[in-house]
Amino acid sequence: MQAHPKLKISHLQKSFANGRSPVKVLDDINLEVGDNEFVSLVGASGCGKSTLLSIIAGLQDHEQGEMLVDGSPINGPGRDRGVVFQSYTLLPWLTALQNVEFALRETGHEAKDITEVARRHLDLVKLSRFADSFPSQLSGGMKQRVAIARALSYRPKMLLMDEPFGALDALTRGQMQELLMQIWQEHRLTVIFVTHDVEEAVYLSDRIFVMGLNPGRIKECIEVSSARPRPTGIQHDRETLELQARVLKSIREETRRVEFD
């Protein structure tokens, strides 16, 4: 790893109060993410992926452990970490353009540049034509594209994405993945990407963290070494398929272990 990771988490622990007894959801999480790296978190449902992401975002607190961004501890959410949520979070009373402008305004951008910058980012996700549409008039994929444009617009150093394409059909999801790849390469972003989809994780990531279940922890880190930019058909290469199988097996071992407990 690099000398100065973008994000460093050590011995992080998180429990939820479940009735009277607390239930440990995340146990001794240690991970480092380098600058401009693309990492995925995968794991069985309920292993704590969303919880971990929202702790990194600063939206939830934790009991133990340390979290450093660029070497300084974080507490609470901040403009250095943009989030794309799984649920659609476009504000319904604002148009696509106004949604991006909202983020820019609230993060203190100069008023005269806001519309310009917002337009440029809608352009980036190929939605200029829908600048004046309200979210209710956009498809799920278009809403997530606006959400990505919005999260990128104020230039966070890190982009945290929680199954952003989970609700999309396979075709749209493929297009979104390519778009995200392209943006990530152009903008030197650090991305932490939560997904259920092993194929997606292998296609997008530099490294994949497989999470264990009960309690959630980092079970394994799998490196994806295929060169970038990755061609579209790469998902079906033998090497890629083998890697996918390996990730899937790692996740399965974990669910099986829990079942036989």
Binding site: G58, G82, V83, S87
Partner: protein
């Protein structure tokens, strides 16, 4: 040729979906048919009324004929009584309802956003909410006489407590991720509240306003029935005292029409304000 007829035939059969019987649960009705049925129901009601009075089933002193009621209303409209009564009642509703709504919204924000204030205020609101408004009428007269203030008070008691709890519910339904989004932008709690939570709850808040405005009509009439010297409710008690059944019925109809009209105005305004919710 053959190809053309081939494609034309199934098309024609496709275009005529089988009509479901009008009274089946799945039957769809066009807008015009809906209106027609609704108007028929009203006409049926009026016809029944004509019949009952025409056949002498009910004495005019208990149930005057529709024409008699209309004539009476016409006379009251001509001499300005109706307008001044409507004006008085509308004024009372506007003031009472506005005060209640503003206070209720402020309360709802407080108890919706801060657990401390929720614990401090909500159980108390729940408690008062179950006290019948009518039971407060004597007290309010004792406190504030029989003037407008007492009417405001009754409207306020009747709407504030319910509204505060319903507004709170509207606010609580704002998706947690909307709030999370605001926080990741570095917005303060207050800013998230004013710029995300409130606008996002606004369509539901508007619905609550619309429902509670309907109740306000009941409360103002109640207050005027018990003690007043003007207003629609007051005129109905006068009618009773002088056995002017036509006036009482006429005023009740006026109340119905006013209620319906305000509700429709609220609905249309809501449709206008929250256009963004609709597709296309």
């Amino acid at each position: 040729m053959t190809l053309q007829t081939d494609t034309a035939v199934p098309k024609q059969t496709m275009q005529r979906p089988r009509r479901k019987p009008l009274l089946s649960m799945a039957a769809e009705i066009s807008g015009a048919a809906y209106l027609l049925i609704a108007i028929c129901a009203f006409l049926l009601f009026i016809a029944g009324w004509f019949l009952a009075t025409g056949l002498g089933v009910a004495k005019p002193i208990f149930l005057p004929s529709p024409l008699g009621v209309i004539a009476k209303l016409g006379k009251l409209a001509a001499d300005g009584t109706l307008a001044s009564d409507v004006g008085n009642s509308v004024y009372r509703i506007m003031v009472g309802f506005l005060i209640a709504s503003i206070m209720a919204l402020a309360t709802a924000i407080l108890i919706g956003a801060y657990r401390f204030w929720e614990a401090a205020i909500e159980p108390f609101l729940d408690f008062v909410r179950y006290m019948p408004v009518v039971a407060f009428v004597p007290l309010t007269i004792l406190w504030s006489g029989t003037g407008d203030i007492q009417k405001f008070l009754i409207i306020w008691i009747g709407t504030y407590f319910q509204q505060a709890l319903m507004f709170k519910d509207n606010i609580k339904r704002v998706p947690a991720d909307f709030i999370g989004f605001g926080r990741t932008l570095g917005m303060s709690d207050l800013r998230v509240l004013m710029r995300i939570v409130l606008p996002s709850a606004m369509p539901q808040i508007w619905d609550t306003l619309r429902i509670s405005l309907g109740w306000a009509w009941t409360w103002v009439t109640l207050a005027e029935l018990v003690a007043a010297n003007s207003g629609l409710g007051y005129r109905i008690t006068v009618a009773q005292r002088y056995l002017q059944t036509d006036m009482a019925i006429g005023y009740i109809l006026v109340l119905g029409v006013l209620g319906l009209a305000t509700d429709q105005i609220m609905r249309l305004l809501g449709r206008h304000f929250f256009k963004y919710e609709r597709k296309s």
